[in-house]
């Protein structure tokens, strides 16, 4: 995280702020992507995740992928559509 971003966002120690689906979200520092999905009760097999513009194709990497301050996540899934 850049110093200017740190100045704008007061972040409690032990927390990181991410942007998930366009909204700021606070999570405990050190959480992996798998931890975060578990907290959302999301099944990794039914979602696709883009992190900082890159699609995360290897779901087995989620358990070791630590989320960092200012990460931008898009979590998408299939919905009804034509």
């Amino acid at each position: 995280m850049s110093e200017s971003a740190a100045a704008v966002t007061e972040v409690a120690s032990g927390e990181v702020v991410l942007v998930v689906n366009g909204i700021d979200r606070r999570i405990p520092a050190g959480w992996t992507l798998a931890d975060y999905l578990a907290s959302l009760k999301l099944d990794a097999r039914t979602v696709v995740i883009e992190r900082n513009g890159d699609i995360l194709r290897d779901r087995s990497s989620f358990a070791s992928l630590e989320l960092l301050p200012d990460d931008v996540l898009e979590i998408v899934h299939f919905v009804g559509g034509g």
């Binding site: 959302l40 039914t46 899934h77 299939f78 919905v79 559509g81 034509g82």
Partner: protein, 271 residues
């Protein structure tokens, strides 16, 4: 009677099943999954339609909802062929991004590519569509391109590597039926890849007339989902697509602008 065997079965056998990019499908009717009153109704309607290919959209998960409402909780991906769309995308780059996300879901590399050019009509941006088709084909996608009923665009999409071209019957969700049968027929006659009419079918007769043009299939959503009884309409659409296909294969009688009696003109009393 020569046709007794055929007529005794529920459905006449299609001598040429629908094949797209080497994949054979069990139905020429493809259906969308949007706009249903409930997931149960959607499933019943899809079952009644007999469709194998079902389209889905890619959207953000609502993180604040207590229950995950992804469609895979209701649709069995082993029973249906999931065809992700890029509905709602207005630029080539946006559509490409959605297609890549859809492929990462891990079901297939197929995409129903939409690049919309106008909010009011939802007509395609054909330049953006062509650009996105080229990029995605280059990445190994099987692109089914939603387009208008313009022959030149359809030819360019085929040349760019689309595995199927999907001209509209009329604007998405309009239910106006086929506005230009000549254009649809011309596209079908000139293209080698399958032509699947996508959008605009409002009721069973619309579907039947579309299939009578000789196209390879129809994709519809609103025509079923927005009916008062979607499940019954889905059943009607199944029969209409089959009937239209059979009528096309049977070859219709020539149109004449004079009457021709069906009963013998000889043997009348007093002759």
């Amino acid at each position: 009677m020569a046709h007794a065997d055929l007529i005794s079965t529920e459905t006449l056998t299609d001598p040429q099943p629908l094949v797209i990019a080497g994949h054979e499908f069990r139905s020429r009717l493809m259906v969308g999954t949007g706009k249903y009153a409930s997931n149960a109704q959607m499933i019943d309607a899809i079952d009644a339609s007999g469709a194998e290919v079902v389209t889905v959209a890619v959207r953000r998960v609502d993180l604040d909802r207590s229950k995950d409402e992804g469609i895979l909780h209701h649709l069995d991906p082993d029973h249906f062929f999931l065809l992700a769309n890029t509905a709602g995308c207005y630029t080539a780059s946006e559509a490409i991004r959605y297609a890549r996300l859809a492929r990462a879901a891990g079901f297939n590399e197929w995409v129903k590519l939409e690049v919309i050019g106008d909010q009011q009509t939802l007509l395609p941006d054909t330049a953006g569509l062509l650009e996105a088709t080229k990029t995605l084909v280059g990445e190994g996608f099987k692109v089914l391109a939603y387009t208008n009923d313009d022959l030149i665009t359809a030819l360019k999409l085929e040349e760019a590597g689309a595995v199927a071209v999907m001209p509209l019957a009329s604007p998405i969700g309009s239910g106006l039926g086929m506005l230009n049968p000549y254009a649809i027929r011309t596209i079908k006659q000139r293209l080698s890849v399958p032509v699947i009419v996508d959008a605009g079918v409002g009721t069973a007769s619309d579907a039947c007339v579309v299939m009578e043009q000789g196209v390879d299939g129809i994709l519809m959503n609103t025509g079923i989902a927005a009916a008062k009884d979607p499940v019954r309409m889905a059943a009607a659409m199944k029969l209409a697509v089959e009937s239209g296909r059979n009528a096309y294969l049977a070859g219709r009688m020539p149109r004449r602008e004079v009457a021709v009696p069906s009963s013998p003109t000889t043997g009348m009393l007093g002759q």
